[in-house]
């Protein structure tokens, strides 16, 4: 017999690309535990650097969407989408051995993606500090989670596993989708009414095949709340003065939600954000600009806390750097559509929200003039650089295109007057011809 080092090593040549601790990758890895498929996981640099490797041409050639998890077989077979990967690396029993079972498995897998992922993300991500907290959206998500647990509970009353009498991809998928909920927020009193779901969940995570991937799963003891500190740490782009921001923001958002009178649809944010946040930031779209002596945050502090006319405005003109920054006048292009004043306000706050990522590099005062059925919206914007930042993100296009933008000459009298009147929310507003109704500040 050959010494072991001389025998042909049986390296698994199948590869799963992911970032570490990705619950979507868990689905495939648990399925592989059941089928015995050997998979090599590449999740850390230098082999795989999330956010970089998956954007390279080689990667995109194999996986055009550029997302992970992504799977490459030893025969060169490539497949992305976590559910498809789990299906591929699993076995017949996991996939369902009859047509009916297979259909029911797809049913639960799809249900997990469409019904569980959105509210689970809305509720859990803020507790991990990777998404902003919105009270109403979270409350709505909690109700959704209750509804889902109720559906699962009555199904599992008479059943051991979701489909048939053995673990299938349905159980693997739904368990992994519920994993963060059970770890972060489903405290004992919240989950207590769903005993059948709890029994099933605990049994699944204790199967050796689940344990091998998930390790010991500790169920939530106390519902985690929004982690503002972690959130701030994960958002290096934002540095609006800390003391007043959270309160005001939240109030503003709540108020807006009330007006809309419906819960906000779940944002398309996912835990990739977390992985990205832990990456060194290299994506600042303004990074190429030379340093500017104008400290926007300092001005914002003055504007928020001191008298505008006697302190903030003089500070602004004293420090403004017209090389590093530009001032713009923007006017809403469809004033005839502005029938109700409160709708117009939503329009403005909605825009501010979409532009959230620009806060560090912009300031604006936007004003609604006139009354119902006869109003207009216009504002003065200060942006980092000499170009408008909007083309940088598809999210920003909506608002960009709804406004007519005109760059102002920072040294002109017109600019001085507009800045003064818009910052003060007071003055003649000679170019408008309608009375000031209300204003909003982007900062």
């Amino acid at each position: 017999m050959l010494p072991s080092c001389l025998r042909t090593p049986s390296f698994p040549l199948q590869t799963l690309y992911t970032y570490p601790e990705n619950w979507r990758a868990f689905k495939a890895l648990i399925a592989a535990q059941y089928s015995g498929a050997k998979i090599k996981v590449l999740s850390t640099p230098p082999q795989f650097h999330f956010g970089q490797t998956n954007k390279t041409p080689e990667f995109l050639k194999k996986f055009p969407v550029g997302k992970v998890p992504a799977f490459e077989g030893d025969d060169g077979f490539c497949v992305f989408e976590s559910n498809a990967i789990a299906h591929y690396v699993g076995n017949d029993e996991l996939r369902g051995s009859t047509k009916e079972a297979a259909a029911q498995i797809i049913q639960w897998v799809s249900f997990a993606d469409s019904d569980i992922v959105p509210p689970a993300s809305t509720w859990v991500f803020p507790t991990l500090g990777i998404m902003h907290y919105n009270k109403q959206a979270t409350e709505y998500a909690k109700e959704e989670v209750k509804r889902i647990l109720g559906v699962l509970d009555s199904h599992l009353k008479t059943r051991t596993f979701l489909v048939g009498e053995r673990v299938t991809l349905a159980d693997i998928t739904v368990v992994c989708t519920l994993l963060w909920l059970y770890k972060q927020v489903l405290e004992p009193s919240f989950r207590q009414p769903y005993d059948n779901v709890n029994r099933w969940f605990v049994t699944c995570i204790n199967q050796p095949q689940f344990k091998a991937v998930l390790g010991e799963v500790k169920l939530c003891e106390k519902m985690a709340q929004f982690d503002a500190k972690k959130f701030a740490e994960n958002q290096p782009k934002k540095d609006v003065p800390k003391k007043e921001k959270p309160v005001k923001e939240e109030k503003k958002q709540q108020q807006e939600k009330k007006e809309e009178n419906k819960p906000e649809p779940e944002e398309e944010l996912d835990e990739c954000e977390q992985a990205l946040a832990s990456e060194p930031k290299s994506k600042d779209p303004f990074a190429h600009l030379p340093k500017s002596p104008f400290i926007m945050d300092e001005f914002k502090r003055k504007y928020s806390n001191e008298d505008t006319l006697t302190v903030a405005l003089p500070y602004f003109w004293e420090h403004f750097d017209k090389e590093g920054w530009s001032i713009w006048y923007a006017e809403y292009r469809f004033p005839e559509e502005l029938s109700q004043a409160f709708m117009s306000c939503n329009l403005i706050t909605g825009m501010f929200q979409r532009l959230d990522k620009l806060r560090k590099n912009a300031f604006a005062s936007v004003i609604l003039f006139g009354t119902n059925n006869s109003s207009s919206i216009s504002g003065v914007w200060v942006f980092r650089g000499q170009e408008l930042a909007f083309p940088l993100s598809p999210d920003w296009q909506v608002d960009y295109e709804s406004y007519a933008w005109r760059k102002l000459d920072a040294t002109s009298e017109e600019c001085k007057t507009l800045v003064k009147e818009y910052y003060l929310w007071d003055g003649e507003f000679a170019h408008v011809g309608k009375a000031f109704n209300q204003g909003k500040i982007f900062k």
Binding site: K157, T158, T160, N198, N206
Partner: protein, 179 residues
């Protein structure tokens, strides 16, 4: 509803097969309660269902079926004892009702008798209850929902049921008011 004579020594044949043992031992019976006896080649004879069953599990090298930690081992033993002392030979309707009620409560938060893992306790409880469950009406099966769910799961566990009748359970509840 009568539990009947139970499976007797036949149960050990079933167990052997479900454990993948092919040799096929010969069993004798002893005394009024027809306690099974196994004469081993090497040593003394083994008496009693639990003793023999435990021996067979070891022979099949499936020790995990006896429990994988001290606590689980104790729970397995406890339920094997329950099976032999409480379920076997039980024919009194009221007593059977109490057994089912207790078991139903116990299984509410469990998939297997020990909780998360399939063990010998599931196999022998299943064999021991087969004739009792076979006699239940649809409504009774629904009343003992957790027992039914567990029983159905075990009868589908590969290799366990063999030639025993497959008992049908309706998964969509008909009598939702019965608790």
């Amino acid at each position: 509803m009568a539990a009947g004579p139970g499976l007797g020594a036949e149960e050990l044949d079933l167990l052997e097969k479900s454990l993948g043992l092919t040799k096929g031992n010969k069993y004798g019976v002893q005394g009024e309660r027809k306690t099974p006896v196994l004469q081993t080649n090497s040593g003394p004879s083994l008496t009693g269902l639990t003793t023999i069953a435990t021996h067979l599990v070891k022979q099949a090298k499936k020790e995990q079926l006896l429990g994988s930690n001290a606590e689980e081992k104790a729970i397995v033993r406890q339920w094997l004892e329950y099976r032999v002392t409480q379920i076997d030979g039980q024919s009194n309707k009221d007593d059977i009702r109490i057994i089912l009620k207790d078991l139903n409560l116990y299984l509410e938060d469990k998939v297997y008798v020990t909780g998360n893992n399939f063990t010998l306790a599931d196999i022998l409880m299943y064999y021991g209850l087969h004739s009792i469950i076979a006699d239940l009406t649809v409504q009774e099966k629904e009343k003992y929902l957790n027992v039914s769910r567990w029983f159905n799961h075990i009868q589908h566990y590969p290799g366990v049921r063999q030639h025993l009748s497959n008992i049908v359970f309706i998964k969509n509840r008909l009598y939702t008011n019965v608790h």
